[in-house]
Amino acid sequence: MSQVSRPLSPHLQVYRWQISNTLSILHRLTGTALALGGFALVAWLLALASGQAAFTVANALLGSLVGQLALLGWTFCFFYHLCNGVRHLAWDAGHGFDKALARKSGIAVVTGAVLLTVIFWAVALTRVAA
């Protein structure tokens, strides 16, 4: 098969950056990060299954600065991917394709993800402090 190096879609060199493509890229990035988070979740469950010593180590790792930052990142990725995923399901059903509406739902998704992340961590930290 002859290989010709033609420019590939989406033609980034002529593409104007906008909210919709940024959010689309973010959906893939957060999804990939969440796949890693899935491995962390199962590792946590395996630690629990392995016994008290292993589970204490797992919780200590998650409680470290790096662990907490990773959990914060995963929380945002989760809420973003969840909200934007519902937006995608609405599109799949044929709703919300109008340009102005798609822009608005995009802004709503980001706002919702940030708010839910803040609420989740506010509740979590309040419970730790209590």
Partner: protein
């Protein structure tokens, strides 16, 4: 009747003729995970403590164990399909591409099996 040219058919070009199942599977697992992940997130926040005994007791409750297994299965399947698409879109070197796709699929099968087994172990070991 095929609209492909004879040359295209021989070279295997054109649509693969499959993919609907991938598309539906991704959405089905997405829909399943909306309630499952929200339940998991809220549970983490409302557990009395995250120490070994509280988490063990929580996981071991039959309803929780079943929901956790469903979550692990839906998550593994969804992540497998999602990372597969990402790899297919961005990796073009044939050797690297097939290697990464193979490793990704096997890792996600392992993820599901490990998750199911871990929940099962915790549930059967914990005193009711």
């Amino acid at each position: 009747m095929s609209l492909k040219s004879p040359l295209g058919r021989v070279l295997g070009l054109g649509s693969a003729g499959t993919g609907t199942e991938h598309w539906i599977g991704q959405r089905l697992s997405a829909v399943a995970m909306v309630p499952l992940t929200l339940w998991f997130a809220i549970s983490l926040l409302t557990l009395p403590s995250l120490d070994f005994y509280s988490v063990t007791a929580w996981v071991a409750a039959p309803l929780h164990a079943v929901l956790l297994i469903l979550l692990v299965v839906a998550l593994s399947y969804h992540a497998s399909l999602g990372t597969q698409v990402v790899a297919e879109d961005y990796l073009h070197a044939p050797g690297l591409r097939i290697t990464v796709l193979t490793v990704l699929r096997l890792l996600h099968v392992g993820l599901a099996v490990a998750g199911i087994f871990a929940v099962f172990l915790v549930a059967t070991r914990a005193p009711l």
